[in-house]
């Protein structure tokens, strides 16, 4: 298997080159949560998570809703 380095929410993060976004979300224990994800600042539709594979150095951002005014 083939390890790559990505940036996840601003911090370096190890990943597997075969990972899809869906895999990553599952690994992070975030499956089924109300989230949005971007890769290199491009929003990735939830429906594309299963297909979309990670590439080395991808800047991935995962956000959710918190309290605000």
């Amino acid at each position: 298997m083939n390890a790559i380095q990505i940036e996840l929410n601003g911090r370096p993060h190890p990943a597997d080159a075969n990972y899809t976004l869906a895999d990553l979300v599952a690994k992070l224990g975030l499956a089924g949560k109300s989230l949005a994800i971007s890769i290199n600042r491009e929003v990735i539709k939830r429906s594309d998570w299963p297909q979309r594979r990670l590439a080395a150095a991808d800047r991935i951002e995962i956000v959710h809703a918190i309290g605000g005014g």
């Binding site: 949560k33 949005a36 929003v43 959710h64 809703a65 918190i66 605000g68 005014g69």
Partner: protein, 251 residues
């Protein structure tokens, strides 16, 4: 107010219609600064609001992931969730943040744009706000926009297609109330879409005054969340908005 008390038909006088959808309260509330999500929900319910603002932020990776989620307490099925861009200081970040929010919320297009000028005052950055509003509207968003009480720039935002103009009463979290009722009145007079006072409302009478001036709604967070008794303050604000609206209509 107990609707049974109301003369027939007056009920609609307390509704708010934004971007084609009608809500039974003219009060909008934020979800920040509460003790916990349960208190947030209790205050939101007590306020009688139909629109609840949230902020979009990075998930804390690695943190144990069974922590509660805000949207479980104020579910999109029960309330209209209004994502804001709190913490954004330029147009690009604001646009990106709302695109993420739209995806997170399954594509709903209503949003609150706020581009801040600096961390100290949280006063809006109007040039960046105008730029972001233009981009978002092109991209299909229904933009409710936090802005200064400058009637000229408020008109520009309306002409651009914003669905609600949300001038500050005074600085975010300051609770100083409506510092410049004249500017606010100019905006109310000239604006066809709803004008909703956002930020600076400190107590019930401030909300009543905003409504008496002819505003279509009031959005608040700190005044309720930071009260000693947020639930009771939420009730106070619900009644104050109704009282101010009735006073405006009764003239």
């Amino acid at each position: 107010m107990n609707l049974n008390d109301l003369p027939a038909g007056t009920d609609t006088d307390h509704q708010l219609t934004v971007a084609g959808k009608t809500y039974n309260s003219k009060l909008l509330v934020g979800t920040g600064k509460y003790k916990d999500f349960q208190e947030t929900r209790d205050a939101v319910v007590a306020s009688g609001t139909g629109i609840v603002t949230v902020t979009v932020r990075r998930v804390n990776i690695g943190q144990h992931q069974d922590e509660p989620n805000l949207l479980d307490f104020v579910p999109p099925g029960e309330f209209t969730i209004l994502p804001n861009t709190g913490g954004c200081y330029n147009a690009a970040d604001a646009v990106y943040t709302l695109q993420m929010a739209r995806e997170m919320l399954g594509g709903h297009s209503l949003c609150k744009l706020e581009v801040l000028g600096d961390e100290k005052t949280l006063f809006p950055n109007m040039p960046e706000t105008l730029k972001a509003a233009e981009t978002l509207i092109k991209d299909g968003f229904d933009v409710m926009v936090y802005c200064s009480d400058d009637p000229i720039q408020a008109k520009m935002l309306e002409d651009m297609g914003c669905v609600a103009i949300m001038p500050l009463a005074s600085l975010i979290g300051s609770g100083m109330g409506i510092l410049n009722p004249w500017n606010l009145s100019l905006i109310i007079e000239q604006t066809q879409v709803p004008v909703i006072v956002d930020a600076g409302v400190g107590t019930a009478s401030d909300a009543a005054i905003a409504m008496e001036l002819g505003c279509d709604g009031v959005l608040m967070n700190t005044a309720i969340a930071k009260a000693r008794d947020p639930i009771r303050m939420a009730l106070a604000m619900r009644d104050a908005v109704r009282a101010g609206r009735n006073a405006y209509l009764a003239g």
